[in-house]
C-alpha cells in the first residue's frame, strides 16, 4: 500500500503545484477529480475488477501531466487521412492542434468545439454534461482525468439533425510526452431524433512511454442514432487506460465499434446504460495483440429499463506472448422486463505463450428476460488449414485467411465505411497477409 499512498500524494502535490490548468470554468471539476482520486487511490491487486490488470508500470512511477505540446511527426499527421472524409478535430499531447484540424463547413445542427475555445463562457449544456456520465468515485483513472484534463472535444447534435459526414477526434501522442500523462476528454450529446457518427482515435510516437487516460461520455437522446468508433492504435510503449460511458434514452440506437491494437498496455472500461424503454446498445470489438502487449476490455451493460436490447461481440487475436482480458457484465435491473441481451467473446490464440482471459457475467433481477452469453478461447482449426493447403494456398496464407475470416465477422459490423476499410487494412498488415495471396475475403 506504500506505493499507493506515495502515488496519491504525488498526484495531489502535482495538482497543487500546477495551479489552474485549462479554462477557469473547469476548476471546480478539476478539484472534484483530485479529491475523488485522493479518496480512492489506485486500485489494489485484490480488487476484482482490476485483478488481471498489471498496474505496476502505472502506479510505481509518477506521470506528471504533459505541460507542453510536441510537434506531431509528419508520418503521424499523414495518418489523419486513413479514415477517409470526415470533420476532424486533432489534439496533440492533450492540447488542441488547430493547424491540423479541419472543422470547415460543419453541417447545420452540428457543434464541434474544443473546450479551450469557450474561455469564460461555456454553454450551460456542456457544463451540465461534463462529468455527468462518469463515476469518478468509483474509477480512479476517470478521477485522474477529471483532475488534470486541460482540453477536450464537445460534440453537440441538435434535435432532429442528421449528420452524414463522420466526426473524427484524433489524439496524437508525441515523443515530447514521454514519461508524462495525457488526459483526453470527449463529450457527445445527440439530442432527440438526431443521427451522428463519431470516431475517436489514439495514435502516437513509438518512443513515447506516456500514460494516456481518456474519458468519453456519450449520450443518445430519444429516438437517436449515435454511432461511436474507438480506435486504440497507440504507439508501442503507451499505456492507455480509459473509460467510455454510453447512455441511451428511449428508442435510441447506440452502436459502438472498438478496435485495440496499439500500445503496451491498453484497458477500456465500457459502461453502457440503457435508460429508456426501447433503447438499444450494440457494441462490437476486435483486439489484436503481439509481443508482450496487454489489452483489457471490461464492460458493464446496465439494463435499467424495459424492452431494451443489447449486443456485445468482442473478438481477440493473440500473437506471441501477449495477454488479453475480456470481462463483461450484463446487469438487468429490477423492472427491466423484456430485456434482450447477448454477450459474446471469442479469442483466437496464435502465439504458443499468449494468454486470453474471458469472463462473461450475467446479473439478472427481472424475471421476463432473454439473456445469453458465450465465450471461447481456441486455436486455428487444423483441419481447415490443411484443407486450404490442399487447394494450393500456402501455410501462411491459409493462417491469414482463417484469421481474417475470424475477425471479418466483427469488422463487417462496423458501420462507418472509413473505419471498416481502415481496420481491414490494419488487420492484413498486422497478420502479414499479402493481399494478392488471399484475395478479397473480408
Amino acid at each position: 500500500m506504500e506505493a499507493v499512498a506515495q502515488s496519491k500524494s504525488v498526484y495531489l502535490e502535482s495538482f497543487e503545484q500546477l495551479g489552474e490548468q485549462g479554462p477557469n470554468w473547469l476548476r471546480a471539476l478539476h478539484e472534484r477529480g483530485i479529491h475523488a482520486f485522493e479518496a480512492r487511490g489506485f486500485p489494489g491487486s485484490r480488487e476484482e475488477a482490476w485483478r488481471k490488470t498489471n498496474l505496476r508500470p502505472v502506479t510505481q512511477t509518477h506521470f506528471p501531466v504533459a505541460d507542453s505540446q510536441g510537434v506531431a511527426p509528419k508520418a503521424l499527421v499523414e495518418r489523419l487521412g486513413d479514415l477517409g472524409d470526415s470533420y476532424h478535430l486533432v489534439f496533440v499531447d492533450g492540447r488542441l492542434a488547430s493547424d491540423i484540424s479541419d472543422l470547415s463547413d460543419l453541417a447545420k445542427g452540428l457543434t464541434v468545439t474544443p473546450f479551450s475555445q469557450y474561455e469564460d463562457h461555456p454553454p450551460e449544456r456542456l457544463t451540465a454534461a461534463l462529468g455527468r456520465r462518469v463515476d469518478i468515485d468509483w474509477h480512479p483513472f476517470a478521477a485522474l482525468n477529471t483532475a488534470f484534463f486541460v482540453d477536450g472535444a464537445y460534440i453537440h447534435v441538435a434535435r432532429g439533425a442528421m449528420i452524414e459526414k463522420p466526426i473524427t477526434i484524433t489524439h496524437i501522442i508525441t515523443a515530447e510526452a514521454d514519461q508524462r500523462a495525457v488526459y483526453p476528454r470527449l463529450v457527445v450529446e445527440a439530442e432527440d431524433g438526431a443521427e451522428v457518427r463519431v470516431v475517436e482515435r489514439f495514435i502516437g510516437d513509438d518512443q513515447a512511454s506516456t500514460l494516456v487516460c481518456p474519458v468519453s461520455e456519450l449520450s443518445a437522446g430519444q429516438n437517436t442514432i449515435l454511432d461511436y468508433s474507438r480506435l486504440q492504435e497507440d504507439g508501442a510503449t503507451v499505456m492507455n487506460i480509459g473509460t467510455v460511458n454510453l447512455a441511451a434514452q428511449r428508442d435510441a440506437s447506440l452502436r459502438g465499434a472498438f478496435v485495440a491494437d496499439g500500445g503496451r498496455l491498453g484497458r477500456v472500461d465500457l459502461i453502457a446504460d440503457l435508460e429508456g424503454e426501447g433503447g438499444e446498445i450494440d457494441c462490437n470489438g476486435i483486439y489484436l495483440t503481439e509481443e508482450r502487449q496487454f489489452i483489457d476490455f471490461h464492460t458493464w451493460f446496465n439494463h435499467r429499463s424495459e424492452n431494451c436490447f443489447s449486443r456485445q461481440r468482442f473478438k481477440g487475436i493473440l500473437q506471441d506472448r501477449s495477454e488479453t482480458v475480456f470481462d463483461g457484465l450484463v446487469k438487468v435491473f429490477e423492472g427491466a422486463q423484456k430485456t434482450d441481451a447477448v454477450q459474446e467473446n471469442r479469442n483466437l490464440v496464435l502465439g504458443k505463450r499468449a494468454l486470453a482471459h474471458s469472463n462473461p457475467r450475467l446479473e439478472i433481477f427481472a424475471d421476463d428476460v432473454k439473456c445469453t452469453h458465450g465465450s471461447t478461447v481456441g486455436e486455428l482449426d487444423e483441419e481447415a488449414l490443411f484443407y486450404l493447403r490442399t487447394r494450393g494456398i500456402s501455410a501462411e496464407g491459409a493462417k491469414g485467411m482463417l484469421t481474417l475470416a475470424f475477425a471479418g465477422e466483427i469488422v463487417d459490423m462496423f458501420r462507418v465505411t472509413g473505419v471498416r476499410d481502415h481496420v481491414r487494412r490494419v488487420l492484413m498488415r498486422r497478420l502479414g497477409v499479402d493481399d494478392a495471396d488471399i484475395g478479397e475475403i473480408l
Binding site: 493447403r389 490442399t390 494450393g392 501455410a395 481474417l404 488471399i438 484475395g439 475475403i441
Partner: protein, 251 residues
Amino acid sequence: MALLEIRNLHVNVEGTEILKGVDLTIDTGKVHAIMGPNGGGKSTLAKALVGDEAYEITEGEVLYNGKDLLEMDPEVRAREGVFLGFQYPVEIPGVSNTYFLKAAVNAMRKHRGEGEIDAMAFLELVRERAKRVKLDETLLQRPVNEGFSGGEKKRNEIFHMSVLEPNLGILDETDSGLDIDALRIVSEGVNAMRDGERSFMVITHYQRLLQHIVPDVVHVLVDGRIVKTGGKELALELEEKGYEGFDEAAA
C-alpha cells in the same frame, strides 16, 4: 507413361500401421478405381498422397511426374496438380467460396510462373464450371461448405476440381450422400475432364459410381494392401460377391 508410382507405401496413423506396403502405378490419362471394405486403408492412401501430417509415412516412396511427392508440402503438391476431393469436406466460416477459389487459382498460376487471373475471366470460368456440376450459384458467395448439405459439399468438391484442373484427381468416396441425379451430374463433371492427359484415382466402397465413371483399372485394397487388380468388370464382381473372400486373402 506413369504419372503416379507408389512403391511399397507404409503409413501409420496414431501409431497403428494402416497401409502395409501399397504398390500402384497410374498412367497418364487413366482412371483407376480403388475399392475395398471400410477400414481397409482407402482414405489413408488418399490423405497420405496429399500430405496430411496425421498420416506418417514409415516406408516406401511415391513418384509423381518422376518427382518425389512425399518431399513436397501439401500446397506444393496441389500446385503441381494433385487434387483431393475430400470424403468429409471442411466447413470454413467467413471465407467465401469464390474468393477462396480465386486465391487457389492464383497460387497455382504463380507456381507456374503465370500472372494473376483477370477478374472477369475468373468469373466466367467459375460460372461455367458451376453450371457443369449444377452447383447453385448462391453457393459461390457463401462461406466454403458452411451450411451446405452433404450432396452440395460433394458437388462443391467436384466444382473446385473442375476450376483447378489438376493432373491427378483423387476422389475419396465422392459418391456417398449423392442421390441418383446428383451422382450422374457429378460423374458427368468428372467425365468432362477426361481428356487422355488427366488421371483419376476414384475411391469408393460401392460399384454404383463406377457405372458412370467407367474405370480403366480396378484395385481392391484390403487391410492395407492391394490384393487384386483387374479391369472394370472386377467392380461388378465385387458388387455381387462383396469383400468377404478378400478379407481372408489379406489375412
